[in-house]
């Protein structure tokens, strides 16, 4: 009961419901995550950052070549990432080397 009462009290004290004329704007903080240095890092950063921040890589479970090949293939086939054949190889090797099984 205490929690609901508190919530209601706060609500009544500071009721801010949206009405005509209101504009809400936000600015997202900068992306700060960096990849591990190594051959293929530049290509990996460039390709992946087109659509998402690099923590999409660093928070994944570490995996071998098969996992990262699967991921790169999915990014290209499902989401249409445009990566040259040469870069695909570099990126897959970079990921398997630096974000391999932990």
């Amino acid at each position: 009961m205490r929690c609901l009462a508190t919530t209601l009290a706060l609500t009544l004290a500071a009721i801010t419901t949206a009405g005509a004329g209101e504009t809400v704007s936000i600015a997202l903080p900068p992306e700060s995550i960096a990849l591990k240095a190594g051959s293929g890092m530049d290509q990996t950063q460039t390709a992946c950052r087109m659509c998402h921040s690099l923590d999409y890589i660093t928070t994944q479970p570490g995996g071998g070549a098969a996992q990262w090949q699967g991921v790169v293939t999915k990014m290209m086939k499902v989401y249409g990432a445009a990566i040259s054949e040469q870069d695909v190889k570099l990126i897959e090797e970079y990921l398997a080397t630096h974000y391999g099984p932990r």
């Binding site: 919530t7 801010t16 009405g19 704007s25 997202l28 921040s53 923590d55 990432a81």
Partner: protein, 403 residues
Amino acid sequence: MHHHLDEVTRRRFLLTAGVAAATIVGRRPSFAADVDSLLAGRPLVRYPEKTDLILLTARPPQLETPISYFDRAITPNDAFFVRYHVFPIPASVDLDQWRLEVKGHVDKPLSLSMDDLKKFPRTSVTAVAQCSGNSRGRFAPRVLGGQWGDGAMGNAVWTGARLQDVLKAAGARSGALDVTFDGLDKPAFPTVPDFVKALDLQRIMSDPEVIVAYEMNGQRLPMLNGFPARLVVPGWYATYWVKNLSEITVLTDRFEKFWMKPGYRIPDTPCGCVEPGTAPKNTVPITRMTVRSFIASPATGTRVAVNQPVVLKGIAFDGGYGIREVQVSDNLGITWSRAMLGPDHGRYSFREWSATWKPTGAGTARLMVRAFNSIGESQSYEPLWNPAGYLRNVIEQITLVVA
């Protein structure tokens, strides 16, 4: 608040508990073993209209609520988790410009302003929004996808217009089957599938608690939780709760684009699970949430004193049948004791619970919690598994260090 626990002995669990006990004695978990290794490296960040949350990803933003907030029924707006699929997300919404379009197979297409939306009868429901992949990071074997801990969930009082009232005003024509929902988040590249979700029209028309919400805990929605309006589908995973809602489209067929198929699907088996590491034969869209319960306080790893009572607090919830009972165990499930339930905010809400536990000897204590809903569904000792990392509802536990 302090009360004696009823002993509820569940002998049928003796065997399972015995196995668990043997494993744990063999491993002797240390204090360090109970630091959450999944979340250990993740920074706390402060995003607009938000308090400090655990960063999963920056773009699109995915932020997790720390477990300490789940010692109470209502999750504060600024602590509520954030999950987007595509980028950019809306950076600014001007209510003079914003409209909710209702179109497709309808008699009278609508273009609703916020004032128009507020003219529909106002209704509220207290309901849990939980990401389908909440706790995915705890799957073994590990699966790819957002590596959430347990904080991709929250509970709020949602207020808005009934979706069925909005659709009645537009007049869905006969032959209408699915209704799709799209928001202001739009992928930067046309090759990336836009985030669009679908509900069956009959399901909407038979459920007056599915709402287009413009208030969350009595305030306008934070932008990152869907300002100015979002869909609320009580009992179902949050994948359907489309944020920054802008378009509702009535279709004459079944909608099976990316985020409905192959996205957000579970094995077509009674448990929604398969043998770990294997692929399901058939899949169906994920829908209703499973039973879960958590101990939020004290935090795992906390040091407590022998013979000093400790108040355990947490929440339990399910997919809409309502929580009937919460139990805790300090002996790996050999016996269970009934916890005291907090006020009932409705069958879709978190149910707060508390229990008093008295440590009787020094060492490491393992405390487990499980819940039962009103149709007898509960949680299991062994986690289920599926390749997408959905539906997790294993019995949770914390460790306290008794000294």
